[in-house]
């Protein structure tokens, strides 16, 4: 076996392999970043908001309970449609599952009147600077994120939910024991 031929093969392989690795890493890093902060199976980014009752809600303080996070706006009709389903499900699961409805930067008065109109009892907070919305990479509304009792994201759902889905989602993050 020619020594120089072997050497040459090694050089060629190394060069091509290095290029493939560099490109592979770039694609991987790019794809990973596009998923935003919410990746199913990974810890949910901690955030804190003050709700309309002036209660501070911090995601990280809810270990041991499932958390149902709903991003919405009064201008979004599908959001409005699913609110009664969420209200019913919340009533049923509120001992085992925490929830927060994150309004995407609207006037408190508009939000409050919406809440009164629909008789909502679950905590609603306004993401005034859309910081949480951005950190969670939320695009079209509504969007729902399910976090389990260990703080791990279980599901990311974009779009409207049916009444069954809402119940199923709440049920899915009820802590096991």
């Amino acid at each position: 076996m020619g020594k120089s031929k072997k050497k040459r093969s090694i050089i060629r392989f190394t060069v091509l392999f290095a290029i493939v690795c560099a490109i592979g890493y770039t694609i991987y890093a790019n794809a990973a970043s596009k998923q935003g902060a919410v990746k199913v199976g990974e810890p949910a980014t901690n955030f804190a908001l003050v709700d309309l009752e002036q209660e501070r809600f911090e995601l990280g303080q809810n270990k041991g309970k499932g958390v149902f996070i709903n991003f919405w706006g009064t201008f979004c009709e599908p959001c409005e449609r699913e609110m009664p389903y969420i209200e019913n499900a919340y009533e049923q699961y509120k001992d085992e599952v925490e929830m927060i409805a994150v309004n995407v930067d609207e006037a408190p008065l508009t939000v409050q009147s919406f809440i009164n109109r629909h008789g909502l009892t679950f905590p609603v907070a306004i993401d005034e600077r859309r910081e949480v919305t951005r950190a969670y990479g939320i695009g079209p509304l509504p969007a729902t994120i399910l976090v389990d009792e260990h703080g791990i994201v279980q599901k990311v759902h974009t779009g409207a939910m049916t009444e069954e889905m809402v119940h199923e989602f709440f049920q899915s993050i009820v802590p096991d024991a």
Binding site: S4, N30, G73, L109, T110, Q112, V132, A135
Partner: protein
């Protein structure tokens, strides 16, 4: 299989596939003997041109092909051109599904359907760029390394065949004693022309500007660095180019940054003087106002380390700056550029409570359209409650009042007016140019008094850590270009063959000035200046 080597009669070991001996220039193949060799690579065995054996060799061979490289470049140019037919996705306003068809008809629809609206981030475009990168690297190694070795191992004394094959060539019959002196004199003259002289057995090799041969490879190196820079832009954190809107008086988080906020303390727009005679032509050609300058009085804040997303926490003021066009606010590796603006966005509306019959008014109230208060006490038992508020009013599909967004484009208010007259309250729905009384005839009404407008500053958030690499790559590219274009690699061989002195010359460009240089060096010398054999052949064929 054994690596075949071909030992030349001069003793140099050449690799299989070598067309001519790297040391003495003897042709080693039948083709080289009859047709001559391609001097660009000194007849060295181009690595990929050898028998392809493994998959690795095949891939290597594919990318090292100049033909493939040219194809990749042509395809890239075509694709890049197609991407400029219609604006790309990030430069349009509105939904792409609708936009392209609406603006450009059926071609726009095809453009969108084929994904050409995101061409530069499409997988196949990136694949082409990557292929170009691989092609450059592989071809450079494939040709550059053998060329380097061939030039390094070249000897002074060349094979007769090599000499006669050169484009510039001459033979002079001269006595051996004269020959020595003539050669030495020519060498001395060439040395004065900054040739490096090597002497061996009375034969001379004069060479200069060999480095010009590395120009294309330096050029490729620059290109590769540039492409790496482009590739790095896809890695998160390396490159950011996005927009943000900040209203006057507001504080907004800066996208893509970790806990930075910007406050807009005021936006200022200066227009060119409409009455200035100098500008009249320019005004005539533009329908809109012509801004001279615009700037945002900005304050940059950073959230304390421990801050949690969503909570503003403790904000620390970092810097204050007036952001002007081309004068960005810089922090960390980010720059905030003044990009655009929206003037006169609704901010506050002022109303008064008026008795419909008498026209008497009872105090004023000002509603902030982004964050309205609920209750307004006007004193003396008069008060107004804002029962509901729709910033961007419309009637939705359920025939109910609703808002389209949180932007106050079309504010609509539901007021409850309490007066000593009407302690239970009267309801009035007020919109722009609208005043409804849904629950029956009222005694009082809300009368619009004034509106306060604010400006919105539009900033571009930019970060580019790849810039140094792009600049370095670009500079090296240019250096390579200059190196290869402004200098020429020139070699002159002077050799004693039998009772003659043979002179051969080779360069990679600019033959005429090379020939003149040799002529000059041989002036007054007994040796015959070499003639251009190509020209000779041409004139011969023309004469025939």
């Amino acid at each position: 299989m054994n690596e075949q080597t071909h030992v030349c009669e001069c003793g140099h070991k050449n690799k299989e596939g070598t067309e001519m001996c790297a040391a003495c220039g003897k042709p080693l193949t039948e083709k080289a003997r009859t047709e001559g060799v391609n001097m660009r690579y000194e007849g060295a065995a181009i690595r990929s041109k050898k028998r392809k054996v493994t998959v690795l060799d095949r891939i290597w061979g594919f990318f090292s092909s100049v033909k493939v490289g040219v194809w990749i470049i042509v395809l890239l140019l075509l694709a890049s051109g197609v991407g400029t037919i219609f604006p790309q996705n990030n430069y349009i306003s509105g939904e792409p599904e609708v936009f392209y068809e609406q603006e450009y008809g059926i071609f726009g629809l095809f453009y969108y359907k084929l994904g050409l609206h995101e061409l530069y981030s499409s997988w196949w475009y990136i694949a082409l760029i990557v292929a170009l990168g691989i092609s450059i690297i592989v071809a450079s190694i494939d040709r550059g390394v053998p060329l380097y070795k061939a030039l390094k191992s070249q000897r002074v004394t060349r094979h007769k065949h090599f000499m006669t094959r050169q484009r510039l060539f001459s033979k002079t019959a001269i006595a051996p004693s004269e020959a020595e002196r003539a050669i030495a004199e020519a060498a001395e003259r060439l040395k004065q022309k900054r040739y490096r002289i090597r002497v061996e057995n009375g034969n001379v090799l004069a060479e200069k500007n060999r480095f010009a041969r590395w120009g294309p490879y330096v050029n490729h190196l620059g290109l590769i660095l540039f492409l790496i820079g482009c590739l790095l832009r896809y890695i998160p954190g390396m490159y950011v180019d996005t927009q943000m809107w900040v209203r006057e008086g507001e504080q907004s988080p800066i996208p893509e940054t970790d806990g930075y906020f910007i406050e807009n303390r005021g936006f200022k727009l200066e227009l060119y003087d409409e009455n200035d005679e100098r500008f009249q032509d320019a005004f005539a050609s533009s329908n809109a106002v012509v801004p001279e300058t615009f700037e945002t009085d900005a304050v940059l804040y950073k959230r304390q380390e421990s801050g949690i997303v969503g909570e503003s926490g403790e904000l620390e003021q970092v810097q204050e700056k007036k952001i002007r066009v081309n004068d960005p606010l810089k922090f960390d590796s980010f720059s905030l550029y003044q990009m655009d603006y929206r003037l006169n966005e609704l901010h506050e509306m002022t109303f008064t409570l008026e008795h419909k019959d008498t026209g008497d008014t009872f105090g004023e109230l000002t509603v902030n359209l982004l964050n309205p208060e609920e209750f307004y006490d006007l004193g003396d038992g008069y008060a107004v409650e804002l029962a509901d508020y729709y910033p961007d009013f419309h009637i939705n599909n359920n025939k109910e009042p609703a808002t389209r967004s949180s932007v106050p484009n079309n504010p609509y208010f539901v007021f409850k007016m309490y007066t000593p007259d009407t302690p239970d309250g009267e309801t009035s729905m007020v919109g722009i140019q609208q005043n409804l009384e849904p629950l029956g005839e009222n005694k009082y009404k809300m009368t619009f008094v004034d509106v306060d407008l604010v400006n919105v500053s539009i900033l571009t958030v930019r970060k580019d850590l790849t810039m140094p690499l792009l600049i370095a790559g670009g500079s090296i590219f240019i250096i390579g270009l200059i190196q290869g274009s402004y200098w020429a690699h020139r070699r002159v061989w002077l050799q004693q063959v039998g009772g003659e002195v043979w002179i051969a010359g080779h360069t990679n460009r600019n033959w005429l000035s090379f020939k003149r240089e040799i002529d000059d060096a041989l002036e007054g010398n007994a040796l015959t200046a070499p003639v251009d054999q190509e020209e000779e052949a041409e004139s011969r064929s023309e004469g025939a």
